[in-house]
């Protein structure tokens, strides 16, 4: 048990060790600074308020895109999973959008909607909807016909049925789509910011890329990775445990 818990820690320490060795060999802090060389720039960015501001901007975009993609994706997935006829019509669209490179969607959104917030969030949302839909559709196909019949005979209201009969059956699929979603969305948000926004972690990385400042690029990248890990551990995992309570019981 303790060994299992220690393995990830040792593994990460090993990675850090590798970094230190690589930095020492390269001997050039402009190419790869030592880990501790990042602490000062990090503190400076926090003190100046730059880092919190850009982190916040990116987080807002992630939240919007996440909420929209999950909302639309769950609705579409449910409809497509439960109606074979609608699925036949929409499935080809899904395949097209699934295979559309993220970059193409981003560029098109900027060209068509303009270099603004709407375009940025629309691009990320459109990128993620097909994945969410695909996962949710599988879940909707697996829902119990018996429970449907039960809900029908007892005349459960549409909302009660959705909330207490359908969605709980979909919980593992929704959780899967959500975790996957967050992971993919924040990466796409960074690209969107890199290409066409004047705020956010992606924009800052673009800026320091042009200044060839590896340390600052790493500072921003790690800051955001830590934020997203916190979201995973503090929000997603506890929520998942909560909806799985009845299984463990």
């Amino acid at each position: 048990m303790t060994e299992n818990r220690l393995v990830p820690a040792f593994s990460l320490i090993a990675l850090l060790g590798l970094w230190i060795v690589a930095a020492a060999i390269s001997g050039d802090p402009t190419v790869l600074p030592q880990p501790w060389a990042l602490i000062d720039p990090f503190l400076q960015e926090v003190a100046s308020g730059e880092l919190p501001y850009h982190l916040f901007q990116t987080l807002i975009r992630v939240l919007w895109a996440f909420a929209l993609a999950m909302g639309v994706g769950i609705a579409l997935g449910l409809i497509m999973g439960r109606s074979e006829r609608i699925n036949r019509w929409l499935d080809p669209w899904l395949v097209v959008f699934l295979n559309l490179p993220a970059l193409v969607l981003i560029v098109l959104c900027y060209l068509w909607i303009g270099l603004n917030e709407t375009a940025a969030i629309a691009a990320v949302t459109l990128n993620k909807i097909p994945n969410v839909t695909t996962v949710i559709r599988e879940g909707a196909r697996a829902t119990s016909r018996d429970l449907d019949a039960m809900a029908q005979v007892y005349r459960m209201s549409r909302w009660t049925k959705l909330r207490h009969v359908t969605l709980p059956q979909m919980a593992p699929f929704i959780a899967g789509a959500a975790r996957n979603g967050v992971a993919v969305i924040w990466k796409i948000v960074l690209v969107v910011e890199f290409l066409g926004r004047s705020s956010g972690v992606g924009f800052q990385i673009h800026l320091y890329f042009q200044l060839f400042d590896v340390a600052m690029v790493l500072v921003y990248a790690f800051s955001f990775i830590f934020v997203m890990l916190a979201v995973e551990w503090l929000l997603l995992q506890p929520w998942e445990r909560r909806v799985r309570r009845w299984r463990a019981a």
């Binding site: 018996d146 019949a149 005979v153 007892y154 459960m156 009660t160 009845w246 019981a249």
Partner: protein, 206 residues
């Protein structure tokens, strides 16, 4: 009054049910008896309104309840919620009284998966009777129970039917269950299945 008049029901080209017609007044319990695979469950799904794809007419009241072969509960909601969610007008106290009647009041705050199969079936019964249904449908509710449990469940069902007084349609392949619970037994036979003897053809609707 429940009025069933089915002209025909097929799956693709295979006819399952022929003309099946009967009526159940409030307070009467009718058993549909027949061998496995004859189309009892198909008939029941039509009568319950789950399967709308048939020729004929069924008149049924709004307040219906159903007990399936399997308990068919919401495993992610507590025992008590399994009753209250289905009957939103029912107070928590009334739901608790119902659970007490079937003998699982102490399990109210557990999840169904934490109770035994027998207790889950009791919960399915409680859920059915809690809404004071005008029409109760039961699909082999005592199948796959050991004889002792089946007997207890039968007794419990009898009591609850006597208290609530709904029209009851129940499907079974066990004649002793049918004779014990039902006021009237209709037998489903043949392919496509019809009520035997050919009651409908004499012009009288049973």
């Amino acid at each position: 009054m429940i009025s069933v008049d089915i002209q025909q029901k097929s799956y693709g080209d295979t006819p399952i049910l022929g003309r099946v017609a009967f009526q159940i007044p409030k307070g009467e319990t009718v058993a549909i008896l027949g061998p496995s695979g004859v189309g009892k469950s198909t008939l029941l799904r039509i009568v319950a309104g789950i399967d709308p794809d048939y020729q004929g007419t069924v008149a049924r009241p709004d307040k219906m309840a159903i007990v399936f072969q399997e308990p068919t509960l919401l495993p992610w909601r507590t025992v008590l919620q399994n009753v209250t969610l289905v009957h939103p007008d029912l107070s928590e106290n009334a739901a608790m009284r119902m659970l007490k009647k079937v003998g699982i009041a102490d399990k109210a705050h557990l999840f169904p998966g934490q109770t035994s199969l027998g207790q889950q079936r009791r919960l399915a019964l409680a859920r059915a009777f809690a809404g004071q249904p005008d029409f109760l449908i039961m699909d082999e509710p005592f199948v796959s129970l050991d004889p002792e449990t089946a007997d207890t469940m039968l007794g419990l069902t009898e009591t609850l039917i006597a208290e609530t007084g709904p029209a009851v349609l129940f499907v079974t392949h066990a004649r002793e269950e049918a004779t014990r619970l039902a006021d009237r037994i209709l037998e489903l036979r043949g392919q496509p299945a019809v009520l035997a003897p050919h009651l409908v053809e004499t012009g009288e609707i049973p």
